[in-house]
């Protein structure tokens, strides 16, 4: 007999709900400490360049400015990234996108801070910027990282795709494209760093992953992990956009040098400019089926631009590949994906990691197929749906908890009731 649950399944009031309706919840920008400094980043206004000279002296000389730092001031490692450590805290070798961080400033007031930033100048040696997938792959294109602009290539294969297509009654071919999107969480990124009473470097930040942040701050400052404490402030929405390092390392570096609390609050446009975006994708798809709507084969090619840094690109490419068939059993599948680096804004994690993009394709194909053979779109899905015992393109057998057909049936039932 199934046990009756006493707590789960119930709509309990949220543990942090009361403070949120009272307005007492502290988000990162709500923290203030005695002697606190205000910090901000000086950013590049070109997408691809080396820095010939950075003029920091005037800003440093300004009254009320407590630190103006560039990469020379980093005591530890100047690279972060959740999967591939390719993004600098402050640019050392070259600028790879508009808005790359060149210097950080801490000052006694936001007004002085603004004045100091206006005093910083930079001379660039510009490099041809790469803005398209195609250009990134050309032989004479400048290289953004390492030795190639190919970020990652993936190949997935099961069954015998070419043979299977020969036997299909119907083949549907399309090219889909999806665009670059922004999370637009309502709270712009923010954080504050300080040394706590035990002398521990502490960062309170709006984040989706405080333990990762801790490791990156420690590595930047050359400290053991347990000498850094990161506390997640109440976080005003994220959707994947607060998985990368935002202000954590910059704040911590300024506190490291000034020994004072430093708060950084990004403006809306700074936040949108430099946080990761959804990967735009081009997806070519060829789907083969029998006359009665059974899927036989699928071939998919995915191309995407991960922008200037890897961020969660490797997670997006892998997930997009695994999910590209949709929730259907297709015995013969071949998929290829290529992601490139460009000097565009960084693409990364955004609610779904590439699955919304491939869903536009696999569902577009299913709907086109249903129309072509004159079958109800729910029916054709049921016919091909994953169920217990289904074998995925990766060879995995589904053993439990596969409620797909029930979602189709329940949605159809409810739609019949409420849609016109």
């Amino acid at each position: 007999m199934a046990k009756e649950y006493s707590v789960i399944g119930k709509s309990k009031v949220k543990v942090d709900g009361l403070e949120k309706v009272l307005g007492t919840t502290k988000f990162a920008s709500d923290y203030s400490l005695p002697d606190m400094l205000y910090g901000r980043v000086f950013r590049s206004t070109v997408p691809h360049a080396t820095v010939k000279k950075l003029y920091l002296e005037k800003a440093r000389a300004l009254d009320g400015v407590e630190a103006v730092l560039d990469y020379h001031d980093i005591p530890g490692k100047n690279r972060f990234g959740i999967i591939i450590k390719d993004e600098p805290c402050l640019v050392d070798d070259k600028i790879r996108r508009y808005g790359d961080a060149l210097a950080v400033v801490a000052a006694k007031s936001p007004e002085i801070l603004e004045e100091a930033l206006a005093l910083i100048e930079v001379d660039y040696d510009e490099i041809e910027p790469i803005f398209t997938f195609e250009r990134a792959l050309e032989a004479d294109a400048p290289i953004i990282h390492g030795t190639t602009n190919i970020h990652q290539v993936k190949h997935l294969e099961c069954g015998n795709v070419d043979e299977a297509f020969k036997k299909c009654d119907i083949i549907i071919e399309n090219v889909y494209s999806t665009h670059r999107l922004s999370h637009m969480f309502i709270e712009p990124d923010a954080g504050i760093a300080y040394y706590d009473d035990d002398g521990l470097m502490t960062v309170v930040a709006s984040t989706q992953n405080p333990h990762y942040d801790r490791n990156e701050v420690a590595s930047l400052l050359g400290l053991p992990y347990n000498q850094v404490r990161v506390i997640q402030a109440a976080t005003g929405g994220a959707f994947g956009g607060k998985l990368d390092i935002s202000v954590q390392c910059h704040c911590a570096l300024l506190t490291y040098h000034t020994r004072k609390p430093v708060k950084m609050v990004r403006s809306r446009s700074e936040s949108t400019m430099v946080s990761a975006k959804r990967h735009p994708m081009t997806i070519e798809a060829k789907t083969g089926a029998t006359r009665d709507g059974m899927l036989m084969a699928m071939e998919v090619k995915i191309c995407s631009d991960t922008g200037a840094y890897a961020s969660y690109g490797p997670a997006v490419i892998t997930r997009a590949m695994v999910h590209c068939t949709g929730p259907y059993s297709i015995p013969n599948v071949r998929a290829d994906a290529t992601f490139v680096y460009t000097n565009n804004p960084m693409s990364g994690a955004f609610r779904g990691f590439g699955v919304p993009q491939v869903a536009v394709c696999h569902e577009g194909q299913m709907n086109a197929l249903a129309r072509k053979i004159g079958m109800d779109p729910v029916e054709i899905r049921i016919r091909n749906a994953h169920q217990i015992g289904s074998k995925l393109t990766t060879g995995q057998i589904l053993e439990n908890s596969v409620g797909f057909i029930e979602t189709l049936e329940k949605a159809r039932e409810k739609a019949a009731e409420v849609l016109s």
Binding site: K20, P188, G236
Partner: protein, 167 residues
């Protein structure tokens, strides 16, 4: 630039402060009066996170200068709960699950409050139009609408029982 003296009634208390005339009201409230329930999301009057009740209207404070606040009456979310008791709207937001990240919540509740102070029994359409200046990226707004509708009902019952009015 010289500082000017501003007098205002803030959450029921008369306050006087000297500020630069170009200080934004959002900074006046958050920095000078430490009322951090007032949030900043866009700084261009688009998101509604910085909404307060200003002379009875829901107003965004990120594009408003301190001078405009002189002789005004301002209510922030800190001023809504009375003697530790939640305002009906606060209770309804909590009970309906209208709060996810909570960053839009202060502005949402205050916009609804200002709306109900003017019109104690708004229609569904009036609620929607009245709240359309406040963005929420988390909830899809459904539970926010439900919370406001519930609050309207509860206020109505209270009024019928001769209880307190909304303002």
């Amino acid at each position: 630039m010289n500082k000017i003296s501003i007098s205002l009634n803030l959450n029921g208390e008369d306050r006087v402060i000297d500020v630069f005339p170009n200080r934004r009201v959002v900074d006046l409230l958050r920095e000078d009066f430490k009322l951090t329930s007032v949030k900043e999301g866009c700084s261009e009057g688009e998101c509604g996170a910085c909404t307060v009740i200003f002379n009875g209207d829901a107003v965004t404070t990120c594009c408003m200068l301190a001078g405009q606040a002189d002789q005004s009456t301002i209510i922030t979310l800190e001023g809504l709960a009375k003697n530790g008791e939640l305002d009906v709207l606060q209770q309804c937001f909590l009970d309906e699950g209208a709060v996810q990240c909570g960053y839009c919540t202060p502005g949402m509740i205050l916009t609804a409050k200002a709306l109900l102070m003017k019109n104690s029994s708004p229609t569904e359409e009036e609620i929607k139009v009245g709240m359309s200046g406040n963005l929420c990226r988390c909830t899809g707004y459904e539970k926010i609408h439900a919370a406001v509708k519930n609050a309207v009902e509860i206020y109505k019952q209270k009024l019928e029982q001769g209880g307190e009015s909304i303002g």
